[in-house]
């Protein structure tokens, strides 16, 4: 089969991003200019975002067997590119003073985004692996980026090694699982494991289950679900903040989209044992995540642990999708992913705005008295944290509401109970951070909170905050969009 030009149109965002990276690379080759490279990347990502948004209403086609470009994938393309752009903006002041080549960072960021775009629009294992590895490879780089810098306070090396080894192992598991599924179904597309090709006798349900679980575990690692979560806090803590942000937002969202498509397509949930396994993982993640974060003092680690819990919440909606007719649980997953990206981008954003590659402020105590030193930053941060805790007036609440709704309709009482307990515990550590911001400011570290220094980052924070509140108070537009696009998954 040969690809016509028409086929390329849906791939526009992907191509634009790729183009951006290429251009940036050549520019670097010609003349190293940090500002220019960053500018090109940001602009490119912006254009990619817009193009995706432009394509979204009208497009729905299978481009090559590898990629499905429908409204759903385009929606997440928008989300991915936009977030990537935001992170690029955060990175600019953060890396400004790195005593090493800074430009290549943006190449990595761009390439990672390419991988993510491929993932969100993949309904074929090949593209999944391609996207996933592209993403992971560049993430290794981003995590380890300041590794040469003597001044960098953290442990990028340790983080990247841990991440590399473990995620390679996970890829191995994933690949092995895919291979088994392939052996069972004879196709690499996301397809039901039930309709085993008639040509040769099937290898049995147990086989499919084992295969499905292997794949799920491979993905679960990337989503840092318990008990495959242990890398998360260390990697989050060790990486430079923008990389952490990328890992926590796009890395998770793209992976979950794949999981969603795969689970829906493969009818994995017809097997009670698979449902059981997923529920177990969900329970473990919610409890482990929240309990681990309880007394943690390092901001990055807290957010890492909380992300574990949040992924657990998402699994509830995923499980629900099997019991609920209609697309409500898919919508729940989708909306919650959007909410999650917004709020964790915001939370890490605040941290990276005040930090730099020389010194990161990632201890709760660093934020003591922030409320009185910079009400603006504190307000944003508080908003993000309350949203993570699922308090009204924030998008996180609507997300929680979705999850609860799906759970109730599916009558998953046990999981709901776990959800309630988990959220209850969660309140404690979110409020701990908020409270330390409320403390009197006298003995607090004085990191720079001046808005003037990096206006762009603050602008991004403003956008995120605005989204947080608007979607929290009047989510209807997004809700209806998600309602339409979710039909493409089923």
């Amino acid at each position: 089969m040969n690809i016509t030009l028409a086929d390329l149109i849906p791939l526009l965002p992907l191509l634009i991003t790729t183009g951006t990276v290429v251009i940036a690379m050549t520019v670097i080759g010609v003349k190293r200019s940090y500002t220019l490279t960053a500018g090109i990347t940001i602009a490119g990502l912006l254009i990619a975002t817009l193009s995706a948004a432009y394509l979204m209403p009208s497009t729905n086609e299978q481009v090559t067997p590898l990629m499905i470009v429908d409204q759903y994938s385009l929606f997440f393309t928008v989300l991915t590119c936009a977030t990537a752009m935001f992170i690029a903006v955060f990175s600019f002041p953060y890396l400004a003073n790195l005593d090493d080549h800074k430009e290549e960072y943006y190449l990595l960021l761009g390439i990672a985004t390419i991988g993510a775009i491929v993932m969100v629009s993949s309904n074929h294992f090949v593209s999944t692996i391609l996207g996933l590895e592209t993403l992971s490879m560049s993430l290794y780089g981003m995590v380890a980026y300041p590794v040469h810098s003597e001044k960098s306070a953290k442990f990028p090396l340790e983080a990247s090694v841990k991440y590399l080894v473990l995620s390679a192992a996970a890829s191995g598991i994933l690949l092995f699982g895919i291979a088994l599924i392939y052996a069972q179904t004879g196709t690499l597309e996301f397809a039901s494991v039930l309709n085993v090709a008639t040509a040769t006798p099937g290898l049995g349900a147990g086989f499919s289950i084992a295969a499905l679980i292997l794949v799920f575990i491979g993905i679960a690692f990337k989503l840092s679900l318990a008990p495959f979560h242990m890398w998360t806090p260390d990697v989050y803590e060790g990486s430079p903040l923008p990389a952490t942000t990328y890992l926590a937002t796009i890395g998770k969202a793209a992976m979950f989209v794949v999981l969603l498509r795969f689970i829906e397509a493969s009818d994995a949930l017809v097997f009670d044992s698979v449902i059981l396994v997923i529920s177990l993982v969900a329970t473990a993640s919610i409890l482990a995540g929240n309990l681990l974060a309880l007394l943690q003092d390092n901001l990055k680690r807290i957010l890492a642990y909380s992300s574990i819990a949040h992924m657990g919440y998402l699994l509830i909606a995923l499980v629900a999708s099997y019991f609920v007719e209609g697309s409500i649980s898919v919508e729940a997953v989708t909306f919650y992913l959007v909410a999650y990206v917004i709020m964790s981008a915001g939370a890490f954003g605040v941290a990276s705005v005040v930090s730099s590659s020389e010194q990161e402020f990632d201890s709760i105590d660093d934020y003591k008295g922030l409320f009185w030193r910079s009400p603006w930053l504190a307000a944003v941060f508080t908003g993000m944290l309350l949203s993570l805790a699922g308090i009204p007036l924030t998008v996180g609440f609507i997300g929680k509401f979705y999850i609860f709704f799906a759970g109730v309709e599916a009558a998953l009482w046990v999981l709901l109970a776990v959800l309630v307990i988990g959220s209850g515990v969660g309140l404690y550590y979110y409020l701990r951070i908020v409270y330390s911001m409320l403390k009197s400011a006298d003995d607090a570290h004085n990191f720079n909170v001046a808005v003037g220094k990096n206006l762009s980052s603050h602008a991004v924070l403003a956008i995120l905050f605005l989204l947080l509140v608007v979607l929290g108070v009047y989510p209807t537009p997004v809700v209806s969009i998600i309602e339409t696009i979710s039909t493409y998954i089923l």
Binding site: F125, V126, I129, L130, E133, M137, Y140, G141, A144, V147, H148, F155, L157, E158, A159, S160, V161, K162, L164, V165, A168, A169, S171, G172, I173, L175, F176, I178, A179, L180, Y182, A183, G186, T187, L188, A197, A199, T200, L203, P233, D234, E237, G238, Q296, R301
Partner: protein, 102 residues
């Protein structure tokens, strides 16, 4: 001609995979850890070959090629990091990489 039963191939792959996994668990020398990872990945590759053999498709082979490249990339990055690590810690014992915990 009489082909090898699929099960056998897959069991072999599984054994390979386990060997690789155990390697990752047991070895303290990071170089060996990387090698064990290679084994795990290639076990997956073998499974693909078996599957491809079962269906007489090309996809399996393609996947195998992909896996090889992928593994190569992983190792490339990995080795780079190992060098950094050796520079900093003068050892390749992965246990030194345990400054972040809790």
């Amino acid at each position: 001609m009489e082909s090898i039963p699929v099960e056998h191939g897959l069991i072999l792959a599984a054994i390979l995979f386990s060997i690789g996994l155990i390697g990752v668990l047991t070895r303290r020398n990071i170089v060996f850890v990387l090698m064990s990872l290679e084994i795990m990945l290639n076990a997956g590759g073998l499974a693909f070959i078996v599957g491809a053999a079962r269906w007489g498709h090309a996809e399996g082979q393609i996947m195998f090629l992909m896996i090889i490249t992928l593994a190569a990339a992983e190792v490339a990055v990995g080795l780079g990091l190992i060098i950094q690590m050796f520079r900093r810690y003068k050892t390749v014992d992965i246990n030194v990489l345990s400054e972040m915990k809790g």
